[in-house]
C-alpha cells in the first residue's frame, strides 16, 4: 500500500511529502445509555494519502464522513488509534504538540466563534508567538503588523476587538494568526462556508496568493465542490470514515469514477438558469456509523450495486490515474 502511494502521482519520488497519512484510523468508544456497553465508532478508517509541499489537498464528503476527525489528527489534537501521520517524513507522535504547532496551523469555519471576543486583534494574532516565547514585545508587534499587511488588514485595527470587525475581516485575522508561526501546512476546515459570496471570493483569492507567496500546503476541508474544484490539486473523497477515491482534482472532476463521487458532483448546483434541478438517486441519508452496512459501506445507496458489494468490502486499489475503493474497478 505504502509503496503504491509512494509512486502515486509524484514523479520525483525522492521528495519527502509535506504530509502523509499511512493507514490512519481513529475509533471512538461511544456509550449509548447509562448501563450500555461501550460501542466502537470508527470515525476514520485506513486512510492513506499524501501531499507535496505547495499543493492543496481537498477532503470532501457529507457531514459525518470523518473529515473533521481527520483534520484534528493532522493538527495533532487527536491521536490516531491506528496507522501514522508523517510531517516532512517525521511521525507526528514522535514530536511534541508545540513542535507540531510550528508546522501545522488551523483556520476554522466560523470566525465569529473561533476568535476570543475579549482580546484585541494584536493579542489574538500574537498569541502563538507568546506561547512559543518568540521575540520581545516590540518585535512581536512588528511581526503582527507585517502579517496584518500580508492578509490585507488595515493597521488601524490592531487594537480593535473581534466584534468590531466584519466576517471577512475576522477570517483574515484567523488566517494571520495561523500564519504567524510560519507553518508549512495550514488545515482549513470549511474556511468560507460562513461567509457571504462576495467575501468568500476575497478570502479564496487571499488563500491562493498566500500559497504562492509562502509555498504553503493546504489541507482544505469543504463540502462546496465548486470551491474545491477551483482551489485543489488533489481531492480525497471520504464516505463513512473511509477514503473511497483519491486523485488529481482535474481528473476527478472531469471523470469521477466512484458512484458516490459521481453523485456528489451531480448535486452541485451551478448558476445556470437553463438547467433544472438534478435528479439525485442517492435515496437515503448516511447510514449509522455505529453499525455500518456489510461489504461496501456505500452499497445501500449505490445505483450500481452488485451482489458482491453487500458481501465483500472492496480494497483501495490503483486504477489508472487514481486510488479507488469500489468493486466496479479492477
Amino acid at each position: 500500500m505504502n509503496q503504491l502511494m509512494g509512486q502515486f502521482g509524484h514523479p520525483d519520488s525522492d521528495a519527502v511529502p509535506a504530509l502523509e497519512c499511512r493507514n490512519v484510523g481513529r475509533t471512538f468508544m461511544i456509550k449509548k445509555g447509562m448501563f450500555a456497553e461501550k460501542q466502537p465508532l470508527k470515525a476514520v478508517q485506513e486512510v492513506s494519502l499524501q501531499v507535496n509541499r505547495g499543493e492543496v489537498l481537498a477532503i470532501v464528503g457529507e457531514s459525518g464522513c470523518g473529515k473533521t476527525t481527520l483534520a484534528k489528527m493532522l493538527l495533532g489534537l487527536l491521536e490516531p488509534t491506528t496507522g501514522e501521520i508523517l510531517l516532512d517524513g517525521v511521525p507526528i507522535n514522535s514530536v511534541s504538540i508545540k513542535d507540531i504547532a510550528r508546522k501545522v496551523q488551523p483556520v476554522f469555519q466560523d470566525p465569529y466563534s473561533s476568535l476570543n471576543p475579549r482580546k484585541t486583534i494584536e493579542q489574538i494574532i500574537s498569541l502563538p508567538l507568546k506561547v512559543h516565547e518568540i521575540g520581545s514585545k516590540e518585535s512581536r508587534r512588528a511581526r503582527v503588523e507585517e502579517y496584518m499587511r500580508l492578509v490585507g488588514l488595515p493597521k488601524r485595527l490592531v487594537h480593535s476587538y473581534p466584534n468590531q470587525l466584519s466576517g471577512g475581516q475576522r477570517q483574515r485575522v484567523a488566517i494571520a494568526r495561523a500564519l504567524i508561526m510560519e507553518p508549512k501546512i495550514v488545515v482549513c476546515d470549511e474556511p468560507t462556508s460562513a461567509l457571504d459570496v462576495s467575501v468568500q471570493a476575497h478570502i479564496l483569492n487571499l488563500l491562493q496568493d498566500l500559497r504562492k507567496e509562502l509555498n504553503l500546503t493546504y489541507a482544505f476541508i469543504s463540502h462546496d465542490l465548486a470551491v474545491v474544484e477551483h482551489l485543489a490539486d488533489w481531492v480525497a473523497v471520504m464516505y463513512l470514515g473511509r477514503l473511497i477515491e483519491f486523485g488529481k482534482a482535474i481528473d476527478i472532476f472531469n471523470n469521477p469514477k466512484h458512484p458516490y463521487t459521481r453523485a456528489l458532483l451531480d448535486s452541485v448546483l451551478t448558476p445556470d438558469a437553463s438547467l433544472g434541478l438534478p435528479e439525485i438517486t442517492l435515496g437515503r441519508g448516511l447510514p449509522n456509523p455505529l453499525s455500518p452496512p456489510s461489504g461496501c459501506y456505500f452499497h445501500p445507496r449505490c445505483p450500481d450495486a452488485k451482489e458482491q458489494c453487500s458481501a465483500e468490502q472492496p480494497a483501495l486499489i490503483e486504477n489508472e490515474d487514481r486510488l479507488i475503493e469500489c468493486h466496479l474497478y479492477k
Binding site: S166, V197, A226, A273
Partner: protein, 339 residues
Amino acid sequence: MSSDTVLEVENLSVDIAVPAGTLHAVSNLSLQVEQGETLCIVGESGCGKSITSLAIMNLLPRKAKLTADKLALEDRDLLSMSESEFAKLRGDRIGMIFQDPMTSLNPVFRIGDQLEEVYIQHGKGGRKEARERAEFLLEKVGIVAPTERLSQYPHQLSGGLRQRMMIAMTLMCDPALIIADEPTTALDVTMQAQTLNLLRSLQKEFNAGLILITHDLGVVARMADRVMVMYAGRAVEIGSAEEVFDMPTHPYTQGLIDCIPVPGRTEPGSKLGSIRGIVPALVGDLDGCMFRNRCDHVSDPCLSGDIGLTEISAGRAYRCHLSPEESKNKLSVEGAACP
C-alpha cells in the same frame, strides 16, 4: 391585481429604531407572487431579504416600523389586520420553512403532534382527519413508514428528514403562499438537491406561491421563475431567472455572479472576481445609489438623488443609471476579463 396573484406588496419599507438613529432595513420594495410561481429573493447578509419575509408574516421585531402602500394576500388587506387575525392566517394561508430544521421543530413533542396541531388549531378538522392528512403528506414528501415516523421525536430524525417534516407541516393547511428562508443551507449537498426537488414538485402540485430566500446563486438559477436581487434593503434587479443570469443589468448582480467559482466556467486556480468595499451602513438619511462606493461604473448622477427602478420590459427592471445598452457593453467587457 389578477385573480391568480397570491401576494401583492407595494412600496414596503421597514425602519428599525437603533441607538444611532433609524435603520432603513427595507426601502420601497414592491413584489408580486402568482399561484404556482417561485420568486427567489437573493442577496448577501443584511440586504433585508429575511426582514421582508418577516414583514409579510407580521413577525417583525417590536422596534421595527412597517409602512406600505399595499400588502395583500389573496385580496385580503394585511395592513389593517389585527394580530389575532394574523395568527389565524399564519400556518393556514401562509406557511414558513426556516433555515435550520434542528431548531424549528419542538424537541419535546412528537412529530405527529406537531403536524396535527397546525391542522386542528386552524379548525380544519378533528384529530382523526389531522392524522390522516399528516400521513398523506408524509408519504408525499417521500417518507417511508409514515405512521412510525409520526410517533418519533425530532432528535430521532436526520437533518434531511426534519426538513421534509417541515415541508409537510407547511402543507398541512394547503397554504396559498410558502415562504422558505434558506431551506437547504444547513443540509448536505446531496440532500439539498433532493429537498429542493421535493419542494418544487409539491409547490406546483398544491399550486402555492413560493418565496425562496437564499444567498446561493446555484439554488436561485435552478429553482426560480422570477428573481429579485436585493442590495441594502432595495430591489436592484428583477427579472426571470434566464434574464438575470444570462444578461445581468445591475453591476451588483454581475459582481455576485463573477464572485463564485463555477465548475466548467471558471479556470481552476484563477483569480475570482470580487466586489470591493463593504455594505454601507443603512442608518440615517440615505441618498444616491447605495452601491456607488463599490461600483466600477460610478458617475455624477449616482452620487445623489433617488435612483428609481427602470423597467426594461414587463417584469424586468433594474435600479441603475446606466442605460440597458450601456450596462450590457460595460458589464460584458468586465465579465470577459474575469470569466
